[in-house]
Assembly symmetry: C2
Homo-oligomer: 173 residues x 2
């Protein structure tokens, strides 16, 4: 994707070894998502799976594991339980993505794009994401937040944000 | 990010329960990355960390775990070992991202953007990604692959790709 990410993503004057990672957003995200089965359940939820039995069938994970992960994702506010009723059956609960869960869209797309290139053979991607109206394939890109101009992935750097913290020296070894 | 992802990402005529996930690119990616420490090591590599001791200090993971994950990432071709030498010291090896590793850029950005909104308090993100020239903040977006036109995240659907497979009925329960 880019020629030299190390140079371009790391800020020139920002020695990462001095930066506190206590409030790192990537670490916080992975605290919830850092588990293969968790993300596969979220993938299936994006693809319309709602019922417990379908999550089990689709992930092929043991039922106890699916129960555990679904509960965790509900506790973390990524999924919520909603009642549904099929004709002639009693009301049951199924699982749907919350706003917090739906906001994982780009994480899943980024994982799929990477897997399409580096896990599956090139040109053999199982599914494609396309624009509804045009039928043209869609991909992730970087844009400026002020005017949505497209940005070269090499032309970025990291800088301290409003929640930036240095590591305390005792923690630095 | 979007109003109703379930409806828009799931293909209208594509019942996910009939789709084989054997070659799913998300599952393939998570097979490698489905571990919190693995992704934090990759995060640090993006931020310029190269030496074993610095990975240990930055992730605060046990040394045995860092050794294990670095070896795994080298075996999987995400990191490679390169010799380096400091003045007056013997030559040693450190770890740098390969092309396959650098291509995880959007995965990390997507995780950070999600964590910035849903894990850290809004407006308190620790670091920001900005365009080098303009100093303007940068974000992920969806664009058409043919002309880079910006796409509304609700205006997409999934369709079978060249590697698409149905599940065999025996595997379907």
């Amino acid at each position: 994707m880019v020629a030299d990410m190390n140079e371009t993503v790391a800020g020139r004057n920002l020695d990462w070894r001095t930066v506190s990672t206590a409030n790192c957003s990537v670490a916080g995200a992975m605290q919830i998502l850092g588990d293969k089965w968790t993300l596969l359940i979220i993938r299936d939820a994006f693809n319309g799976i709602k019922r417990f039995d379908d999550f089990c069938a689709q992930t092929r994970a043991p039922r106890a594991l699916v129960i555990n992960r679904l509960k965790y994702l509900v506790d973390e506010g990524v999924l919520c339980q909603e009642p549904y009723q099929e004709p002639g059956s009693r009301s049951r609960l199924h699982y749907v993505l919350t706003r917090k869960g739906r906001d994982l869209q780009y994480v899943l797309i980024a994982l799929r794009e990477w897997g399409d290139v580096h896990i599956n053979e090139s040109g053999k991607q199982p599914v494609e994401l396309i624009e509804k109206n045009s039928g043209v394939a869609v991909r992730l890109a970087l844009v400026r937040t002020d005017d949505d101009t497209l940005i070269e992935p090499t032309n970025i750097r990291m800088q301290p944000g409003p929640g930036f913290r240095r590591r305390s020296s005792s923690a630095r070894r």
